[in-house]
């Protein structure tokens, strides 16, 4: 975890939970684990505030705790660093749920995100009391909720060890992987009674079972979308549909977060699945050719490993994300240094090691320009220099040495990832600055909007409303529009940066052995 990531986490938490939580998280970020007293002493806030901040972080599943090894009655807290950035992806999660399950699903996910974690009955009550979807019945909400659990978008938080509920200073949880997606028993009658005020929430049978969004299931969907979109852009819609069927088949036998490559799938299995589920006649007719097309493509998504069952295939995650991540790196170089620099980068990547003179010949770029571009790339750490010293010599002069340009894949990606973290942090800071700088103006416009809305509801005359609207002067209006546009551009930049970060993180997961914190059950 880099310092840039630490800054980013800090600013994200400040945006969502305020300064106290930010300070507590900063303290936890800098250490593996800390006790409550250690957190209190290293932050400038009162014990009560720190306790509240830690409880909020636990509720939003950003902090883990476990009993200390020396004293089992003392809890040690640790920050789930890799999950903090998920706070920025909440809007993407909601959009995905909305496209899959409609407004009801989006409402459930929204309430879960607002509360961090919640019991099923409590969650449905909140959704039902929400004004937006009052027309929907409790049954629809329950069915959608259960469907989301069975699709693994919602996960059960580990339950307390039986018998320990009352006595433990640090509660212990039972981790049963089979039980994470077992749907709860929701009593609709009780739900109706609670709504009418005839019963209380404490009577619900599922009071001890808490649910939360399963971020990694969303990430799996985003990852698959990246691959499908890449194939769609390069080979067309039919090839993308074919690949989506292959992915679905693979998940029957493979852990979705297996690092290097998937398990095998045969041609016959793919054909049967497509014939059963697809109406695309063209795809069914030319299936073998589409598979060959994906397999022969330079992206290397699919690899043939045997001839059994009409041909055995696997999805090569390592090659896939190497291709995609370096396409992204090349795009960054093109935008920053121009297409000639990108060509130099590609030549070095193909040749693996190359001398300066050979580089300018291979890239077909004038010597001076090639030197300047290579130097820029070297300075920004996109390329590296390997020194090979000739053995022997031993005289007073410098030893004969060869200086070869090379690309260290993992270092380049890590550097770019850190740059993205830094840019994202800067973007958030700038956005906050703009909001603070024009706080008065923004609040005034919001107040005016609410007044006008209330007047319209009351049925006031248009002239009178126009008079009120005119209190917001044209110069103020102009400034406000400019600020809003600036903030919107910054928010868009945040989202685009997060897309790049996600792609590079996928590269780190599938192409390296670094701990990424991504797994099926968390």
């Amino acid at each position: 975890m880099s310092a840039d990531y630490a800054h980013l986490c800090s600013s994200i938490l400040e945006q969502c939970f305020g300064k106290v939580v930010q300070s507590v998280a900063d303290c936890l970020f800098s250490a593996t684990t800390r006790t409550l007293s250690q957190i209190v002493s290293s932050t400038n806030f009162s014990r009560k505030e720190v306790v509240l901040a830690v409880a909020v972080l636990i509720k939003f599943r950003l902090v883990n705790f476990e009993p200390s090894k020396n004293n089992p009655f003392l809890a040690e807290y640790s920050l789930r660093r890799e999950d903090v950035i998920c706070l920025l992806r909440y809007s993407r999660y909601i959009h995905l749920v909305q496209t899959k399950y409609g407004n009801v699903g989006a409402s459930i996910a929204e309430e879960l995100l607002n509360a961090g974690s919640e019991t099923a009955t409590g969650l449905l009550l909140k959704c039902l009391s929400d004004g937006e979807n009052k027309a929907e019945s409790a049954e629809t909400y329950r069915d959608t909720f259960i469907k989301m659990i069975s699709d693994h978008y919602i996960i059960k938080i580990p339950e307390l060890m039986p018998g320990d509920e009352q006595d433990e200073a640090v509660p212990k949880f039972q981790k049963n992987e089979c039980g994470f997606f077992v749907p709860p028993n929701i009593d609709l009658q009780l739900l109706a009674q609670i709504q009418k005020g005839e019963a209380t929430l404490s009577k619900a049978l599922d009071g001890a079972i808490v649910w939360s969004l399963n971020y990694d299931r969303f990430h799996q969907e985003f990852r698959d979308d990246i691959m499908k979109l890449a194939i769609e852009r390069k080979l067309g819609e039919n090839a993308a549909e074919c690949f989506s069927f292959i992915l679905n088949l693979i998940y029957n036998t493979t852990d979705p977060w297996q690092r290097k490559a998937s398990n095998l799938v045969t041609f016959v299995e793919i054909k049967q699945a497509i014939e059963r589920k697809s109406n695309n006649m063209e795809l069914i007719k030319y299936l073998d050719q589409y598979i060959c097309l994906i397999m022969d493509d330079s992206l290397g998504f699919l690899r043939k490993v045997g001839d059994m069952g009409g041909g055995q295939y696997l999805v090569d995650m390592e090659k896939t994300f190497e291709s995609l991540a370096f396409a992204c790196v090349e795009a960054v170089i093109t935008e920053r240094f121009g297409s000639k620099a990108a060509r130099i980068f590609r030549v070095i990547r193909v040749k693996k090691f190359i001398e300066q003179e050979d580089l300018q010949k291979e890239a077909m770029i004038p010597a001076k320009e090639a030197k300047s571009l290579a130097y820029n790339l070297f300075q920004e750490q996109f390329i590296h220099v390997k020194v090979i010293k000739k053995p022997g010599g031993g005289g007073s002069g410098p030893a004969k040495a060869f200086y070869l340009f090379q690309i260290k894949d993992k270092d380049t990606v890590r550097m770019l990832l850190d740059n993205c973290f830094k840019s994202l942090y800067n973007t958030i800071r700038r956005s906050n600055y703009e909001k603070n700088e024009h706080k008065g103006l923004i609040e005034k416009s919001q107040r005016l909007d609410s007044i006008v809305e209330a007047m319209k509801e009351r049925g006031e005359s248009d002239e009178y409303i126009a008079e009120i609207v005119e209190t917001f002067t044209p110069p103020e209006c102009e400034i406000l529009n400019k600020v809003k546009n600036r903030i919107k551009t910054l928010s868009k930049a945040e989202m685009t940066l997060d897309d790049t970060i996600f792609l590079l993180q996928m590269y780190q997961h599938h192409c390296t052995t670094l701990p990424t914190g991504i797994q099926k059950f968390k």
Binding site: Q15, C16, F17, G18, K19, V20, V21, L36, F45, S46, E49, L52, A53, A55, V56, I58, K59, F60, F65, F73, A75, Y90, S91, I94, H95, Q98, N114, G116, S117, I157, L160, E165, E168, A169, V170, P171, F173, A208, E335, R336, G338, E355, Q356, A367, K368, K371, S372, A374, Q379, G394, S396, P398, A401, Y403, T489, S491, K492, A493, M495, T496
Partner: protein
């Protein structure tokens, strides 16, 4: 010859080495002696981002979410920040604040360490059950003793009762957690209660001024 040795790294590249890297004469990059500027000029103007409907939806939702979080009870404002704010608040803001304050954070304290639960009170040991337990023990014991008395003719009764009661007292299980709580309890902390202002210093010496005792 002594100073030459086999040499280590010189710190900078020689002309020959620079030539091998392709840098000679005017091509030599300038030596950087100051940190780069905070806002360097852009070489290329960045391209404008296109906004799709999906992105628009996400942008609006995100803005809404951040506003909701700011008004939620999970957005913690420290006491010092609160003080700064209250000094410049008008009556409308105060009324809004009061409305906001109605929402209380909901935590499942059962699934959190006990130290985070501010409402948790240390359970004081209830004396009654213990007394009852002792009573029943005594009654049982008395019965046993009566039987013994009948058998042995009542020799050394008192001694045995004493020994028994002593052993019972010793066997009483001690709650390790309670002991720890007592230890951590601020009220029992000697260091907090004890304060020596130094007035009692040399007090003993004064008392001894009365004269030696022979």
């Amino acid at each position: 010859m002594a100073g030459r040795g086999r040499g280590g790294k010189t710190g900078s590249l020689t002309a020959e080495q620079m030539q091998a890297l392709g840098c000679m004469g005017k091509d030599m990059p300038q030596v950087q002696t100051a940190p780069p500027p905070t806002f360097p000029a852009l070489l290329n103007k960045p391209i404008c981002l296109e906004t799709t409907t999906a992105q628009n939806y996400q942008l609006l939702w995100k803005e809404d979410f951040l506003n909701r979080m700011r008004d939620s009870p999970y957005y913690i404002v420290s006491a010092s920040q609160e003080k700064q704010k209250t000094s410049v608040k008008d009556w409308r803001e105060k009324a809004l604040e009061r409305l906001k304050n109605k929402a209380q954070p909901e935590f499942n304290y059962k699934a959190m360490p006990r130290e985070l639960n501010s409402n948790y009170r240390k359970r004081k040991a209830d004396p009654r059950p213990k007394v009852l337990a002792k009573k029943t023990n005594i009654e049982d014991r008395l019965k046993q003793l009566e039987q013994k008395e009948l058998k042995n003719g009542g020799e050394n009764e008192n001694d045995e009762v004493k020994r028994e009661s002593d052993s019972e007292h010793d066997d009483e299980p001690e709650d390790p957690e309670a002991a720890l709580d007592d230890e951590m309890d601020e009220e029992n902390d000697y260091a907090n209660d004890y304060f020596d202002n130094g007035e009692a210093y040399n007090e003993e010496d004064d008392n001894m001024d009365d004269g030696p005792v022979y």
